[in-house]
Symmetry: C2
Amino acid sequence: MAYGYKIGSIPLTTVQRFASYLPALRDMQRQGRSVVSSASLAEMLRLEAIQVRKDFGYLGITGRPKTGFQVDDLIGAMEHGLSWNRVSDAILVGTGHLGTALLNYRGFGYHGLAIKAAFDIAPDRVGALINGVQVQHLDEMKPFMDAKMAILTVSPESAQEVALRLVRAGITGIWNFTGRTLLLPEPIVVQDQDIAIGLAVLSAKLTARAREAIEAESKPPA
Amino acid sequence: MAYGYKIGSIPLTTVQRFASYLPALRDMQRQGRSVVSSASLAEMLRLEAIQVRKDFGYLGITGRPKTGFQVDDLIGAMEHGLSWNRVSDAILVGTGHLGTALLNYRGFGYHGLAIKAAFDIAPDRVGALINGVQVQHLDEMKPFMDAKMAILTVSPESAQEVALRLVRAGITGIWNFTGRTLLLPEPIVVQDQDIAIGLAVLSAKLTARAREAIEAESKPPA
DNA sequence: ACAGTATCGATACCTTTTTATCGATACCAT
DNA sequence: ATGGTATCGATAAAAAGGTATCGATACTGT
Ligand SMILES: NC(=O)c1ccc[n+]([C@@H]2O[C@H](COP(=O)([O-])OP(=O)(O)OC[C@H]3O[C@@H](n4cnc5c(N)ncnc54)[C@H](O)[C@@H]3O)[C@@H](O)[C@H]2O)c1
Ligand SMILES: NC(=O)c1ccc[n+]([C@@H]2O[C@H](COP(=O)([O-])OP(=O)(O)OC[C@H]3O[C@@H](n4cnc5c(N)ncnc54)[C@H](O)[C@@H]3O)[C@@H](O)[C@H]2O)c1
């Protein structure tokens, strides 16, 4: 009924890989390398060359036989597609351990993200200065703020409630680190960033591998 | 050639959803609710009921018509499948902003994860005490440690080098937060936890939505 | 200039995952 | 007891994404 995969006309998985290509391409750019083949990029990222080419096809970037793709073109097209070439303002709610780490993260410059304000409700958090941003009380959050994106790092129990307040304040995109599913009116874009999911995959793979090892042991080697 | 999706016989996406079902199910358990239908769980998690049922099918858990599934059974089966029902030791390397946040995270108890040791190389980090764990110099890392999983939160430039050291020290699973692709010998399980990927999806969706809005404006409303 | 070759890109194919359909089952009310 | 119905689960269809094939193209070296 919903098939909510593609973003515009680009597969979700392709968009995800864009974020992986970018640091590798930026490294090359820094090293003065101007062209790259799908095969060599694939090797660096443990992908298949054909997949890399197909991804680039979605960008409308076309390579040249025998040489490859222009590094600058690729970076430009990806950054443009993600709007990472210009700065977007964001706010952050929940300045605990994780929120503080994100406020201190230097890498968001590469992603066109600027955290302009931070909010909390704990008396010992409000007023704190974190990497140049002063923590305000959540009640100070006003719809006039022109940030459209919010980073949600409050405790899981508060997640739903705070998210609703964000929507009322005019936020249209929420980057949700709380691991709870937010139930919000349709037009809001929610991106769940649940690290438990990554841990689950890792755990499952390790568990599966351990099981295989035991099975292999019970059978004598061929 | 590779199609690396399934973990054992379970689709990767299903394993990922297990991590999302769990907190919701634990909430129910806490509230004394013992049965849940696929439809109600789907609604909470913004999924389709049939997908929930199919996921549970992989666990071998079978529901009862007209009532639903036993909450306890589901939790037990998922935790068992992920080995989250017993504690695994892990080490963490890179005690900067993010590493510190993870060391302070209380939620890992639910995931059967115990961070037993932390390492860094910066003189002002070594010796620090973070949530009961004393930061050691990376050179102190010894193969005798029985942790099999490592959390990698060093700076991106050191990622590859440190990962190789981890492998030499007997680590078989790496939870990689650095955003860099690690090139390691085959049997090592690497789980990339690149938040830039989540941000890319959010950015792309917001950008696509903005584009749609502009297009809708240029056309007069029907 | 020309042969040889690395690399791209269009097309077709295959695998995996999601969704629809529908009969079977167990609970509930009468 | 019986009929009504919510819910499950098997099967099949649809959709999405990944991979193989192969002709076309542009660079390299002679
Ligand atoms: N720390 C981690 O490494 C980590 C890892 C995975 C997930 N998470 C998730 O990230 C979120 C934050 O984790 P944390 O470790 O930083 O927790 P934390 O307890 O350190 O921080 C939570 C912060 O949110 C604030 N808060 C709570 N309710 C609020 C409300 N209604 N309005 C405004 N602020 C409110 C608290 O005052 C606190 O400062 C949690 O949802 C957690 O599950 C954290
Ligand atoms: N802070 C965030 O919110 C955030 C967000 C996204 C990604 N990341 C990624 O997580 C990683 C850590 O980020 P951070 O913000 O904590 O950075 P940070 O600079 O605060 O911490 C990095 C830590 O790694 C240590 N380190 C560096 N090289 C090392 C080595 N060879 N051996 C041992 N320790 C070493 C440093 O001493 C430092 O303590 C980075 O790869 C970053 O890209 C962080």
